[in-house]
Symmetry: C2
Subunit: 329 residues, 2 copies
Amino acid sequence: MALLSHLSALPTLEDDLALVESKLENAVIAKDPYLTEIAKHLITAGGKRVRPGFTIASSAVGQSNTVSVPDEVLMGGVAVELVHLGSLYHDDVMDEAEMRRNVPSVNAVWGNHTAILAGDFLLARASEIAASLGTEVAALLARTIGELCEGQILELQSAYSLTRSEDSYELSIAGKTASLLSTACRIGGLTGELEREVIDQLTNFGHAYGMAFQIVDDILDIIATEDQLGKPAGNDLIEGVYTLPVLLALKSDIGDQLRELLGKELSTDARDQALTLIRSTDAVEKAYARAQVWAQKAKAELESLPSSPATNALFAATNHLLERANSAG
Amino acid sequence: MALLSHLSALPTLEDDLALVESKLENAVIAKDPYLTEIAKHLITAGGKRVRPGFTIASSAVGQSNTVSVPDEVLMGGVAVELVHLGSLYHDDVMDEAEMRRNVPSVNAVWGNHTAILAGDFLLARASEIAASLGTEVAALLARTIGELCEGQILELQSAYSLTRSEDSYELSIAGKTASLLSTACRIGGLTGELEREVIDQLTNFGHAYGMAFQIVDDILDIIATEDQLGKPAGNDLIEGVYTLPVLLALKSDIGDQLRELLGKELSTDARDQALTLIRSTDAVEKAYARAQVWAQKAKAELESLPSSPATNALFAATNHLLERANSAG
């Protein structure tokens, strides 16, 4: 699993994530077996569990030797992952996605109505677990779900907009991606009962990591092959989501040509032309430099933390992020 | 407003609900004014605020004279109403509703994507407020959102089913309606810092009231005029939701005739035939008797509570509920 290579410096992670896995399945048991089946659908489809991994690693920062991870930390990871899964249920309805993680999407199997309600159910279970971890975690997770929605709505609002600003892009990815990664780390610090200063640093680390992560993801949608992505490149272009490399390309020499193609629904031909145009500029390089800046910020936060296997693991995960973009295309 | 007549025995209710109204508007302010506008849409469209009314009334049970309602109680009412509103956003997407409360629905104005996200946003804000009221309220509200989803999914699962049992109907309305009304009362008791025994009685009252409320609502969909409903009767039949009066009619002499019509999508002609058939039986009368039993249970809970203007108001609201069905048709 990719995550294990991300956080492989953390010796007990695999065991801890196995515990998260069974706790995830328990968390979505409903009175009705029908709902339980629907709520489990994407859990059993697998996933990298990046966010619980970050919760666990964050909780262990400063610990010099292998101690068992407290149950509260694992449940914090479960809550964060349930938010991620719930939002995927809703994403797939909105994108009319047929597949997710190599299995048919919930909406494809049970219809949109059920997928919306089951997504709500997962978010509710996440909130219930958060409440069991205290008011600070409960308030934080609720605020984070709100930020997720804000980021996504901002993105929808600027769909197909050729005048989308880089600020608007940053605000959107801060909400839709960085927020939950930052909260995953913060909940690790809170449930691991770390010092306030460390908790705040972990929160900043998660935010910076999340920003870099999303920029890299957006670069991959421009440069990666269909094999690497599991879907054709340029998917964001099709959906009218103009990400950082696109915004930078619009400012380049070929900006006018690109503007002619974009701003409307695209044929696959037009998408391929747009991709070729964007790749012909230094937009990807510039976007990558921006991801590097965020990764540097992330690592700077880690550098002031006590050294430990967990700190090293988070450091390695951040480096791995940049390699993702380098090895693609 | 209908609610004021429901709970009119409570002298300060109108003022308290005015406070709830402004707190509701504040609660949905987002960083982005665009999202704020969407999140406010159904709030400004008005509404009876039945649930905050019950929270406020519950908190005041046992108080002999008019004291001001604590801020926590009002915020509890806000949280409960936000859950109700968030679920309406999702309901309207699912039902492809064009109108809600005499204004265009959120999905009609901004599209399904935005309506799903804005619904999530309202639920998240509700959870955030609940967290500020302590872990017990936070856990309770989260559990209630889960129950709402469970009730609705159960209903979807039995859509168009001619073998839907009365038990399945009761389980579904317990989740989709009684749960939030019961929680509205419980949160009133919790935030009003009433005694545990009183809190539990209020919870039971809310559940029983909610069950009666939904059965009456389902009766009205069979017997009320279009003028009274604001939409044609038989809407549930069109959507394949076979409620208690329908299930009872299916067991009557005309059961086979009705079975011929139902179990599939209905033309308006077929709907009218089905309505005529159901009205020709004693199914509505029997369903009404069931609502009366629940209303009796609700009033029995109130009878053992300390007498006070609030207790009287809840009593009057329960009586009013039954009159609703009597005055229709």
